[in-house]
Symmetry: C2
Subunit: 410 residues, 2 copies
Amino acid sequence: MATINDNYLKLPGSYLFAEIGRRVAAYKEAHPQADIIRLGIGDVTQPLPPACIEAMHKAVDELAKAETFRGYGPEQGYSFLTEAILKNNYEPYGLHFGTDEIFVSDGSKSDCGNIQEIFGLTDKVAITDPVYPVYLDTNVMAGRTGELQEDGHFEGVTYLPCTAENNFAPELPQEHVDMIYLCCPNNPTGTTLSHAELKKWVDYAKKEDAVILFDAAYAAYITEDDVPRTIYEIEGATEVAIEFRSFSKTAGFTGTRCGYTIIPKGVTGKAADGSRVDFNRLWNRRHTTKFNGTAYIVQRGAAAIYTEEGKAQVKETIAYYMENARLIREGLKAAGIEAYGGINAPYIWLKTPNNMPSWDFFDKLLTEVNIVGTPGAGFGPCGEGYFRLTAFGGRENTLRAVERIKKMKI
Amino acid sequence: MATINDNYLKLPGSYLFAEIGRRVAAYKEAHPQADIIRLGIGDVTQPLPPACIEAMHKAVDELAKAETFRGYGPEQGYSFLTEAILKNNYEPYGLHFGTDEIFVSDGSKSDCGNIQEIFGLTDKVAITDPVYPVYLDTNVMAGRTGELQEDGHFEGVTYLPCTAENNFAPELPQEHVDMIYLCCPNNPTGTTLSHAELKKWVDYAKKEDAVILFDAAYAAYITEDDVPRTIYEIEGATEVAIEFRSFSKTAGFTGTRCGYTIIPKGVTGKAADGSRVDFNRLWNRRHTTKFNGTAYIVQRGAAAIYTEEGKAQVKETIAYYMENARLIREGLKAAGIEAYGGINAPYIWLKTPNNMPSWDFFDKLLTEVNIVGTPGAGFGPCGEGYFRLTAFGGRENTLRAVERIKKMKI
């Protein structure tokens, strides 16, 4: 008889943002007049850059004529896009990757979720705590973990606590691990790792023959000099790191879907027969077998952010969101709430007043001042007592949200 | 140390179409003047329906303004699309699914490849032979098979031969199987199963507590009355079948990327504790965890094929390709080559002259008459001695290809 993948039953009821959606919908149904401001899910609100709009209109028109029609493209992405990415995001740092070391996809969530498939099932996974839930959930689904424990941790996973106490910089694990998920700038905390801190991790990975899965979806928001824009700025990283990047937050592509993954050919893992195998080759096999390329229209839109106009437009929108971040950060401070992040990332990570549990604070914000945020506990046990607000709202809503929080009884 | 997923090493060198691409590129480099006609990969050549173009322009414009901007959508697809699909593709057959039983994706290749993740790793897989390579390759990657044998079969997989001898209708397996991949209209043979033949499979699945993974990507090409347009026309199928559908061949979306999967809530599998679990629930968890929805623009384009104009335009393009199919089928016949399919599908499956091996015939066609087709052996051992041509070329190229084949020495 057909059986199910029992690992799925280890996962708690629902994906974090689905649960938030459920609670907001229930509140809205009970209070249809409520003027809800959403600073929860990290979703952008500003329109796409005009350069992307123009490029996509042009691409749509190409699909309207047989002479310029595009069917299946290369699964790994069109060279007009991969070359633009490498030239703009890596070459300025003296980093030269081949176009066969980059894989365009329909978004970083897919890549971060699927990457674990090319690793052995007995590999030990390390994740920061709190962290974007996809890394952990996909490893649970694959069977790389044991059961969920009472303390909220999955058996067999190495959690790396990131709290105000250690300034959100995880310490190297005591035990050996094989796959290390790092997210920098971090989702949800909005904090970053310096060159020196990141170098510790690259050195650890080299020493332990581990691979770093580096999610840099928010790289475009980095403002401080000492924060690497890519992990490959760190010496030796091309031997031990896979990097994920996204157009979602960079250029408003959350509903347009485009991301990419860099897998340098020097990153290898051990096969059962003791030989070393390029992860690049395995990912290429996966990508060409289970994926059929990102929509041509979308790739044209993505490439447009590397034109002169595109660059200026992207910069402007990011500055807009980062001004929101400043307003939230300072507003929280004025309200007597401790807050972190928001300097190199569009996320503000606040300490809940009086150590209130995260989901209680979620309900309090939703019901008392009609603001939707994200409970820190949803990102891992060490997120308990924290709460995430995003700077992706419109300016007016952000200002109104800050005013409401300031007036809230805490 | 980090290890690799060793199952990948069981797979032969490259994905079928990558190998074809490699050979064609090599030939083209050696013969830059060659006038190559591609009837190999099943890729469309006609432009998108004007209704889709119009809808996508409108959607692009919506993304240009904050008031109409769309960020993350529901991972399962917007209701404007799911409702249109259900209303047009299922309700006319008296089939009523909930919008929570349909999942929109970036294409059927992804869904067909990923679906196996929600099944147990010890489930026995049956596939027709020959067949679209994705079903088998993704099960090899997951570890649901043994090694590749000398006869071209993977250990532990039940192959269901489909050849001219059995009129391309697979026989029920002697042994028990849990997951049955059926593709109807079939890729690559272009043949179909009648109501009665399909009913045998549904009855088998019910009896054996198996699940049918039914790929109906070519459903829009069916012309004969006795061929079901959806497996759910068969009584009992909503308890045992998952159906995959695509806009790729229906409306020219190979480079635009949209498909969907129907998982009725009655389709269940056994958990380790003996309970029954809905596959729908597991797929929903997978879809929301590893995927972030299909691009809004693309979904708007897809929905437009269900408008009155869209329907007429789609019908016209399909008729155009099916006329190509007729020309190829009859041309082959005139050339003394046996051919199948091409009545309910845009594929023609020919018997190679003098039982020539498929890859030899590929090279012969490529080098002698500059036509690219697909070697039958690339779809499985029973495809050896067969060859696939597609009707997706332009009319002129199709006519020229037929003339070239007629003049070829066989």
